[in-house]
Each structure stands twice: as structure tokens, then as C-alpha cells.
Amino acid sequence: MAITDAPKIVTSRLDHADSHTLERYLATGGYDGLRKALTMTPEAVAAEVDAVSLLGRGGAGFPAGRKWSMLRKAPVTYLVINGDESEPATFKDHLLIERDPHQLLEGVLIAAYALQVTQVFIYIRGEFALGLERVQSALNDAYAHGAVGADIFGSGFSIDVVVHPGAGAYICGEETALLESLEGKRGFPRIKPPFFPAAIGLYGEPTVVNNVETMSSLPWIIVNGRDAFTALGEGRSTGTRLFALAGHVNKPGVFEVEMVKTTFADLINAPVLGGGVRHGRDLKAFIPGGVSAPWFGPDQIDLPLGQDEVADAGSMLGSGSVVVMDDHTCAVRASWRITKFFARESCGQCTPCREGSGWLLKIMERIESGRGREEDLDLLLDVCDNIAPGLTWPPQQTTICVLGPSIPSSIGSAIKMFRDEFLVHIKEGGCPYE
């Protein structure tokens, strides 16, 4: 395993300070992908994306092409871009939104053409004030440039794009909650199956919801062709992918690496990537794909960064965020904070998630503050089991969306890997790391 010299598909422009401007974008091949796509039939453009089986870069890893093909039979559709990046420790879309908004727009326009939708909404997390300004500026410039609006580049294809701000709710990153929010309602996820957004989406119409990184990959794929993309990575995990590395590393940041060929060890330790665990300390554990994912220990560091490889090892690549914890980290405190997050962000529709997260938080607080009881460990797992029966991976679901079943991941991992630490908290009446 190694760091390959794979091309930068979505981060090629980021060395330039003015990467967000139309001038820089045009000087670096900007809108060539859209121009090329407009000379092809919509089906041919869609087929190109199908062929690369681009696994969605949102968190679920659902193939973008398959999402699209679910729509082929239904003519009137909306395209909605999910830029509500809020999975803790995930900050890759933030980068793409702020630093290369034209690339996002070009991908969006290519998708809009392939799918022949009637309108596009780019839903951007409300907390990204600068990102909202950057994308709106880029959109204004793109309209003036003739890349969006009526009769794009003289092709006869017209589309309007609207930038829509969120207002602060983790759950709106869930695609059906996002659609509710875009309809001007509380962000309550919708029940699915049977009707996914591809059948009943925005305003009840067939709708495709795709992630920012997925969209940002499209200009490169159209310009360079599917073969260039599928030559990268392995198996179902083709191409490159952005990984957001945070926590106890020397060089936290967003890195674009070839899928499967690169390992977690490369990402965390390579001098050109994470640069190793901070202060020369040892690795205690890491979270491989957002806080909804079960944790890995040092013995799993050589796993490749591939969707199926990580799933087979009992976790998920999820949103592409990797959190490194060194050997001075309190596992109880880390999982307590993650539990607090879920308790705060549960939308409140389903009892197991709403009540379960609250009880788990109370028990975790009791243990972390030194007032815990030994039987609390079984109690925690019992409450977890009520949210996700059997505590399997992937989890069983008792709720409308996957937020609920994501809650047990950190508690289950912490108890399984660091049971002794919980017992020290309980027996010694406090956190040994304080």
C-alpha cells in the first residue's frame, strides 16, 4: 500500500489563492466538462456516470448512477444538492464549497443536463456564511458567463439554479429531512422505503439528491472519460476520494487520495498527509468514517481506504472523516461527547432515538463525572439494544432514519475496546485523565 500519484480530481485548483473566482476557473479548464456534456445526449452523459459507478460521497455510499437510473422513467424532476455537511469531523464539502464553487456548479449543470431536470436547488449548510456568499457569487458570474440560465453556451439547454441556505440542524443532512427543510418545514425525515426521493421527492415530484463532492467529480469525469476514472481505485471503490483528517495528528486537513490503494496508516502517518500522531504519542483508536461509525484500534490501521474493505471490518467509510485519538484520550469522555451530540440533534420523531439518546447521555454523564455504577455498562448496552436491536453492524433500525441506529456506535466501541477505563471511572469516582 502506498500513496499513489493519482490525479487530483476535485482539489486540483486549491493551491491557488483565487481558486473560487471565475477567472481562475476558466484559466484551468473550467466549464470544458459542461461544454463537452452539452454535445452528448443526456443519456450518454448519464451512462458515463453509471459506468464509473461513482459511489456517492455523502455518507451512505449509494452509487450516484443508480440514483439517477431510478429516475429515467419519470420526466419531471428536481436536482437537489446536499451541501448540509454536518457529520462531526467532516469538513471536505466545506472546502469544496468555499474554495471551488464553480467546479461544484459545473458538476451540478452536467447532472442537470443528464437528468433533464426542471430546476436545481443547492442546499448549503447555514453555518457556511462565506460558502453561501462564494457559491452565490460564482452563480452570478456563471449566469453572466452564459454557463447557466437560458440557452447555455448556445446549446438550447436551459436551467435555473437556486442557492438555498439551511439554518442549523444536523438531521437536514439526511436527504428526506433536507427535502422537508427545503419545502420550508421542520427537518423531519420521511419514512422510506418504499418511496425514495427518486419516486416521491421535493413537492412530491421525482427528485435526485446528490452530495457536493459527488457533483464536484463530474467535470473531471466528463473531460477525462470513465476509463480514466475507473482506472483509479479498486472494485466498487473507484476514483479518488476526499478524507478529512482531524484530532490528534500533526497535520489535520482534507486529503484527496486514491481509494483502496491508500491505507488508514498512510493517511494518518505519511509525512505528506497526516504526518503522524501528535507529540510523538501512540495511537489509541480512530474513527474511520464520521461519529456514526464504530471505532477502530491500532491493529486495524493497515486497512485500505475502500468502502467494502471497511464495511467487512465492521465499520464504515461513511462521510470520509477520520478522527485520531492518542493514548492520552479518555474513551469515556469521547463517547460521552458523541452521545451528547446525538441527543441534541435527534429530531424527536421516533421514541427509541429521542428517549434513548437522552437516557444514554444521562448515564454517560454519570460515569464520566465519577458517579457511575458497574451495572451501568450493561444498562448502556441494553438501551443501545433498544435503539438498534442486536447491536449488529450494519445496525438494525427501529426508527425512521439512520440517526437513531448511529447512536450506539461510539458507546458500543468504547465499552468493547476500553471497558477497563469505564471501570476505573466507576471505581475511582472520576476521570483518570483529568
Binding site: H94, L132, G247
Partner: protein, 258 residues
């Protein structure tokens, strides 16, 4: 119904422009709430009543929606809302200690506003700036990782107005107005899409007919080889008369689904 509104004439104009962007007015709910916060600094009951009128709904619906979202404040907040993230990546980088310092330094608990009305302190969930941890935002603009010392400096600059150009007062989210847009009218897009859909279905129908003809041909050949009975060339049309199937393919009624 009152003819005067709490929202200013300019805010009302911008609100109507936003509503026009969406197929259904209610979609403009969150953008309008942000707009009202830009005018007043928070979401006042009077503004919610105006928003309800603009969207054809009730003030209760506006409040019911707004109360779901962390960024929409239905009670007054300071001119600067300072958000300190304490989620996992920031926790590992001393965020709880920073928040504790901020509470002491400002003399308020998380969620509170200083007595001079300038600073509201918030404990935030992940703000997606994790490589600059502990992450802090002021009025939803990133100000980079903060130490206790730099935090106090930041607060001083906010109070003196030194950061006003970079960080507008709370409520102003997006300073860039939409200038392009709706350059393509709906009728034109609808006509284009209709033509495209017709072209796609024509291509699909042609492919289906070709496949049906191929199947009928193959069936005919097979039948001719097996028996002299002349039934194989009986072809009947389906409902929309675009395709033909041989009786032998009846167990796969939609040849395109294979």
C-alpha cells in the same frame, strides 16, 4: 389586514424576490427567516407575522418551523453570536477548556448574552472546520482555532468594531445578492423538457419495437424448425400501440426491464 408591515420596504422586496425563486412559496421560509434576522438581529414575533402573510401561512407555522433550527433565534441575541464547537475533533483539542474560559471571561454561561448586548456565547455542534480546532465562529463566520488569549483579543476586537468589515452584525448571513437567474422562463424549460422526453420515449419505443421484432423473428424461426403449425407469426399490439410482442415473450411483458 394591516397595510403596514414590520419588515421594511426593502426587506419586503427582497422577500418577494426570494419567494419567486421557488415553485411553492413556503420553500422560502428559511431564507425569509434569515432575512428578518438580518433586519432585526433576531426573529421577532412581528417579523414572523409578516413572513406568514408573505407565504400564505400562519405565524404559528413560522414559529413552529423556526424553533427547529439552531440559527433562527426567537429571542433577542447579541450583535455577535460567538459559537464554540466542543464536538469530537474540537474536544480532543481543548474545546471544553476554551468554552470554560469564554464563560469566565465573558461572565455568562453558554447560551447567555453579555449585559452590554454585544456577545451571545453558544456551545456549538461540529461546524466543519476541524483542522482548525478548537473551532470558533462569530455570526457564522470562521475565525480559526482559538486559544484563551486569542479568544479574549477576538472579543475585544468585536466590541471595538475592528472586525466589522469581515464580520457583519448577527443576522446578516449572505451579503451577495442574486443578480442572474430566472433568465430562462418556466415555459421555455417546460417546452425543452417535453421535447427531450418525447425524443427519449421515441428512442425507447424504437428500441423496444426492434427487440420485440427480434424476439418474434427468433420465435418464428424456432417454431418453423420444430413444427409446421403457422401460429408463430401472430403479432398483437399492446395498449399504446408502440410495441409488438410475440406470444412466446408474454412471461416478460416489459422487454426493457431485463
Amino acid at each position: 389586514m394591516s397595510t403596514t408591515t414590520h419588515l421594511s420596504a426593502d426587506t419586503m422586496t427582497r422577500a418577494r424576490e426570494l419567494i419567486a425563486l421557488y415553485p411553492e412559496p413556503r420553500s422560502a421560509m428559511i431564507p425569509l427567516c434569515h432575512l428578518a434576522q438580518e433586519q432585526d438581529g433576531w426573529l421577532t414575533p412581528e417579523a414572523m407575522a409578516d413572513i406568514a402573510d408573505l407565504l400564505g401561512t400562519t405565524a404559528a407555522e413560522v414559529l413552529g418551523t423556526a424553533s427547529f433550527y439552531d440559527m433562527l433565534h426567537t429571542e433577542p441575541v447579541g450583535t455577535h453570536v460567538v459559537s464554540v464547537c466542543t464536538n469530537i475533533a474540537c474536544l480532543l483539542n481543548g474545546a471544553l477548556e476554551l468554552l470554560e474560559h469564554a464563560e469566565h471571561s465573558l461572565g455568562v454561561n453558554s447560551g447567555g448574552t453579555t449585559s452590554d448586548g454585544t456577545i451571545t456565547l453558544e456551545e456549538a455542534e461540529c461546524l466543519a472546520d476541524c483542522d482548525r480546532a478548537p473551532c470558533v465562529q462569530v455570526n457564522h463566520r470562521f475565525v480559526g482555532a482559538q486559544s484563551a488569549e486569542s479568544f479574549d483579543r477576538l472579543v475585544g476586537e468585536l466590541r471595538s468594531g475592528a472586525r466589522d468589515a469581515e464580520i457583519p452584525q448577527h443576522g446578516t448571513l449572505n451579503r451577495v445578492r442574486r443578480t442572474g437567474g430566472l433568465g430562462a422562463d418556466g415555459a421555455r424549460i417546460a417546452a425543452e423538457r417535453l421535447a427531450m422526453v418525447e425524443a427519449i420515449s421515441a428512442r425507447a419505443a424504437a428500441a423496444k419495437a426492434a427487440e420485440a421484432a427480434r424476439l418474434a423473428q427468433a420465435a418464428k424461426a424456432a417454431d418453423e424448425a420444430r413444427t409446421a403449425e403457422p401460429a408463430a407469426d401472430v403479432v398483437h399490439s399492446d395498449g399504446d400501440a408502440k410495441t409488438a410482442e410475440s406470444p412466446q415473450s408474454a412471461d416478460h411483458p416489459d422487454g426493457t426491464d431485463g
